[in-house]
């Protein structure tokens, strides 16, 4: 065959032709297409047609047990919470159409901040429109030019984006490595402002930070400490205040960041603090000022839920029981897990690679179980994870059913023998 046939006469392509600003996403588009071409259901395009309870929904036409929703305390269908939202919707309307510092602070926003102050026993509480914005706003505003932010390399995207939005020097350290953190603090000029950012529970593997020791080291070097307790609020600690409570350091940390979109069961974010000048944040924190406040129904549901979570010790005990049963059962079946023992309500099942992870995810969905498929770059060490988050409303029978589903799907996909 002549070479002329495979190289037809055609104009020379101009460099850059067919390229635009989207070209940088080509490899990701290709990877995603390859996954879909293999016939798998799209793990990132699931639709819940009907939500039956905090633990059950109709997903892609099938009745499904929910094991990947962060709805730890199952507050989304609590009758008092729903009623509070309905009343606020009727009394105050569907939205505030305004910033917290202009026309967007209603009675409900104040009541929600009061509930948070009581929940944490702190002097100040500031409610943001999302948890993402709480980290974005607080970190970028308090750490300015010439200051240093020292943070765990596995920090959530909202923490990294808060760093990127501000002008401070950013110094990461190896995950949960106290010695690496101390070395960096020691090398920072003594007179520079320092903020150490930690998380109570790291959401990818479900492991917790050694806060008692880390907060002590941070304080030794004169750093302020911010702890994100998004995945522990309502569940960890005697009063559900988070890992800071279990570790006995709640009075030593300067800021706790949290969210309403997990245990609280709605949407929104917050920061609580005892700092005497904290209220100035309301005027200088741009992600707080330049966005509309939460709708009245949302703050009403949040405030009601937060107050109920103060008295949720029975639910907390049952959630721990669920976490222990699932962790032990999965380990027994031969799955590789993110932590040796259950440290939170998140149990991460480590998959050998993205292809087999996606196949296992689909096999579970067909069994009637929804978990999160987590993949790089969201995951540490480029792992593919099936992340399970338990709910206090999962019954013990449901947890047994979940384990049976994992066994069948794991064997069908060859993840376990």
């Amino acid at each position: 065959m002549s070479e002329g046939i495979s190289q037809p006469d055609q104009p020379e392509p101009h460099p850059g032709e067919g390229k635009d600003l989207f070209s940088k996403f080509d490899s990701l588009i290709g990877q995603r297409q390859a996954l879909l071409d293999s016939g798998l259901e799209d793990p990132f395009n699931l639709v819940m047609e009907k939500v039956l309870s905090p633990t059950r929904a109709i997903c892609n036409g099938r009745e499904t047990i929910l094991l990947g929703t962060y709805n730890y305390m199952g507050m989304t269908f609590d009758p008092e919470v729903v009623a509070a939202g309905q009343k606020a919707l009727a009394d105050f309307g569907s939205g505030t159409t305004g910033s917290r510092v202009l026309n967007g602070t209603y009675q409900g926003h104040r009541e929600c901040e009061d509930a948070l102050r009581e929940f944490y026993g702190m002097d100040h509480a500031m409610v943001f429109s999302t948890g993402y914005q709480a980290n974005l706003g607080i970190i970028s505003t308090i750490a300015g030019k010439g200051d240093y932010v020292v943070l765990d390399i596995d920090s959530h995207a909202s923490i990294w984006d808060g760093c990127a939005l501000g002008n401070a020097e950013i110094v990461p350290f190896k995950h949960n490595d106290m010695e690496a953190m101390e070395k960096r603090l020691r090398r920072i000029p003594e007179e520079a402002g320092k903020l150490v950012v930690l998380e109570g529970v790291y959401s990818m593997l479900g492991d917790i930070a050694p806060l008692k020791e880390m907060v002590a080291v941070a304080k030794k070097y004169g750093a302020m400490v911010l702890v994100d307790e998004a995945h522990s609020m309502g569940f960890i600690g005697e009063n559900g205040r988070g890992v800071v409570e279990t570790a006995g350091v709640i009075d030593d940390v300067d800021f706790i960041i949290g969210t309403f979109s997990k245990s609280v069961g709605t949407v929104g974010g917050f920061c609580v603090s005892n700092h005497p000048k904290f209220e100035i944040m309301r005027l200088v924190c741009r992600p707080y000022v330049f966005t509309a406040s939460l709708p009245p129904s949302v703050v009403a549901t949040a405030a009601t839920s937060i107050r109920k979570l103060m008295h949720g010790s029975n639910k907390r005990a049952h959630l721990w029981e669920n976490s222990r049963t699932l962790h032990a059962g999965l380990k027994e079946l031969g799955f590789q897990l993110g932590t040796d023992t259950p440290e939170s309500a998140i149990i991460a099942v480590i998959m050998p690679d993205l292809e087999r992870g996606a196949a296992m995810w689909e096999a579970l969905l067909k069994e009637g179980l929804y978990v999160n498929l987590a993949r790089p770059p969201a995951t540490p060490a480029n792992m593919t994870l099936l992340r399970c988050s338990l709910c206090a409303e999962h019954s013990s029978e449901q947890v047994e059913t979940i384990l049976d589903m994992f066994e069948r799907a794991g064997k069908a996909t060859g993840i376990i023998g």
Binding site: E169, I170, V171, P172, F173, K183, R184, A381, N382
Partner: protein
Amino acid sequence: MDRAEVDSRIRSLIEPFNKKGVTITDDTTFAGDLEFDSLTVMDFVAAIEDEFDIIISMNQQAEIEKYGQLVDAVCKLADD
């Protein structure tokens, strides 16, 4: 500390990270030539920071693309 000494100390630190045995010059790039991903960068930076007892913040790392720039930056930081 003179540049030659910094250069030789960084050269020995980079060895375990230089999996393909790329010949290193001042113009060698970390992302392109050495194919460092973000995890490798973290471990490599930590090794240099410990060796010279300095901090190379992410803001400073963003300015360093080539080996020679790293040696210059470490010389400056170690002198401060």
